[in-house]
Symmetry: C2
Subunit: 357 residues, 2 copies
């Protein structure tokens, strides 16, 4: 077998695989990469048991044969090569990797032992890949990394008529983004870490979704991914979204971000990074206080609503997280000093609980 | 007291201080910053007991008064401020920090308790600051971070007629760089970590050196630094520099670097990252071998010397370290398969032991 492939294409494919395939494992088979070869090119595939990934790399091929190599070593070798073109050749139990001046021989693994990965062919639903990635990326921060309840470690995809909603919550905050797309009403919960990988591989074009038992398959022109879904009842987050808004203010998100970052330096890390907001007369005055002093910052905002002033407190870290996905203005809607607040921009909403006054 | 200072100048000064002043210490006084104030500006000073640093920041001042603040907190507050100008005002036991829209009050510490830092005024020797920084920066990698003998954790400055030599060694390799400068023949050993800070603060102009008991003071227009020196006999490194060169080759340092990095991916980390060099007929062939395969790389070089070919092995990590300070060509001088080799460029030399064949 002989393969000629550009270093760039092969490196890019391997970089995707490297993020999924573990570099160490009690089961060494999981650290390997399977390369399926056809006349059109290479299909790289690997798994971390939560997520199976496969990625196509076009190449010139003679006498196609599949092989298995240590994933991270192969990726490092290819990344460091000189020149534009890489030649791969199978010689006995070794794969020879050749590029200008370099010549590597890597041992191959046992093809029969590699776990069988299957990617279904049918499509149940097709979504805009960039929109899906943006929605998952916008709400991901609100999923917990360590929550006791598994569903808090996931992002729920909900079908609501001609909209799809991505929503995540850790019990203290909710983040959601809606985007156009219609489905069959099924909802599913994607583990946040697998969502991170989806965000990374979804670029443009269509993402074709296939539902299997406890499994979601996402297919694009470049990659296919099986994601193990989370099981469980996602909390009724709509219950915490306040309906009766008493005061609203609008300000460029970056201005609020800078000001909160500024005073948060003094906020007490043992008291939830508490930052107080006093909204009145078209200004927001922020205050934080800690062991070494206190900080104030005053911002001009566009204020509206039935109540002329309100004072409330947030965890500064949560406010900064909520603002991060927003470009342009944020509209902050307050329902009271002790009830949740909404930070909104377009189809994106973050709902934050307030800290006790 | 009132102070007006540009945010940029104050931030830059504080950034230097932050690297020296510990953020945590069993002695909380060490985490504070002293600010001495004159009509001309602020002199920031702090210490980590190995190194005292003081740094001048020009400012407009009324009613100068010294004060003490938590160093890292103050630096973080100033860094995050908006606008160009910062106002500082002393009010009772607090320092008020004001800038567009922000207003911070920081508690001040007890002036009397701050350790007295003294920077001598006389100058024993004046060196080009950039040359000194370059020499220290070029050889620093060869100093050990953890050697049993303290002198191996230092960089020796030697006066040799109208040259100054910076030299470091960890017993397996020697790095040295000469630069113009004359002194009174005294040699001194600077701890490598303090040398890192010297490299960071020395920019251009003259560095004025003052010798004290076990102490070196370095003064520039911007900063003053007391460095505690290491005591002990630096090894006779000249003994290991080979005199009789049998084969030499010259190649762009970056080409050799890339090739060694490439094959080093396969080198066995448990066998000193061994990379073999076979020099012959105007080429260097590099080979590394590990558990998963082996790699070769072949480079064209300019070869000279009495011996037509030589085979030897190095620790790839050490070769890459030795090449890092070199721009342009490296001349590699070999004395034999089992005796040290010299990697040289201009006034810089690295001497590496070979690994057993």
């Amino acid at each position: 077998m002989q393969i000629r492939v550009t270093r760039k294409a092969l490196s890019e494919g391997l970089a995707l695989m490297e993020r999924v395939i573990p570099s160490r494992s009690s089961n060494p088979l999981l650290t390997t990469l399977k390369v399926d070869v056809t006349d059109a090119g290479l299909t790289l595939s690997g798994t971390n048991l939560e997520l199976d990934l496969s990625c196509f790399v076009p190449a010139e091929v003679r006498n196609p044969q599949p092989f298995i190599v240590p994933a991270h070593l192969f990726a490092q070798v290819v990344r460091n090569l000189g020149g534009e073109l890489v030649e791969l050749e199978r010689t006995g139990q070794e794969i020879t990797v050749r590029a200008s001046g370099s010549d590597f021989k890597l041992q191959t693994g046992d093809l029969g032992a590699f776990p069988p990965l299957r990617f279904p062919d049918e499509t149940h639903l097709s979504l805009d890949a960039a929109e899906l990635a943006r929605a998952l990326g916008s709400v991901r921060y609100a999923a917990s990394n360590e929550a006791f309840q598994a569903v808090f470690r996931g992002i729920k995809l909900e079908h609501r008529g001609d909209l799809v909603r991505a929503v995540a919550s850790d019990g203290y905050r909710v983040a959601l983004r809606d985007f156009p797309g219609s489905g069959d009403g099924r909802t599913l919960i994607i583990p946040a870490r697998s969502a991170d990988e989806l965000v990374r591989v979804l670029k443009d074009g269509q993402a074709r979704l296939t539902y299997g038992p406890g499994l979601l398959t996402v297919t694009t022109d470049r990659v296919r991914m099986n994601v193990k879904l989370l099981d469980g009842d996602f909390p009724d987050y709509e219950r915490v979204i306040p309906r009766e808004i008493k005061l609203q203010f609008t300000v460029p998100a970056s201005v609020l971000q800078d000001a909160v970052s500024r005073v948060a330096v003094l906020a007490d890390k043992n008291a939830n990074n508490r930052v107080e907001f006093l909204v009145s007369g078209g200004t927001v005055r922020l205050t934080a206080e800690g062991d070494y002093g206190r900080g104030h910052d005053t911002l001009a905002v566009e204020q509206s609503g039935s109540q002329p002033a309100m004072s409330l407190a947030f965890n500064a870290r949560h406010v900064l997280d909520a603002l991060a996905p927003i470009e342009g203005d944020v509209q902050v809607s307050l329902s009271g000093s002790t009830t949740p607040a909404i930070f909104q921009s377009g189809d994106y909403q973050a709902v934050l609980v307030t800290l006790r006054v």
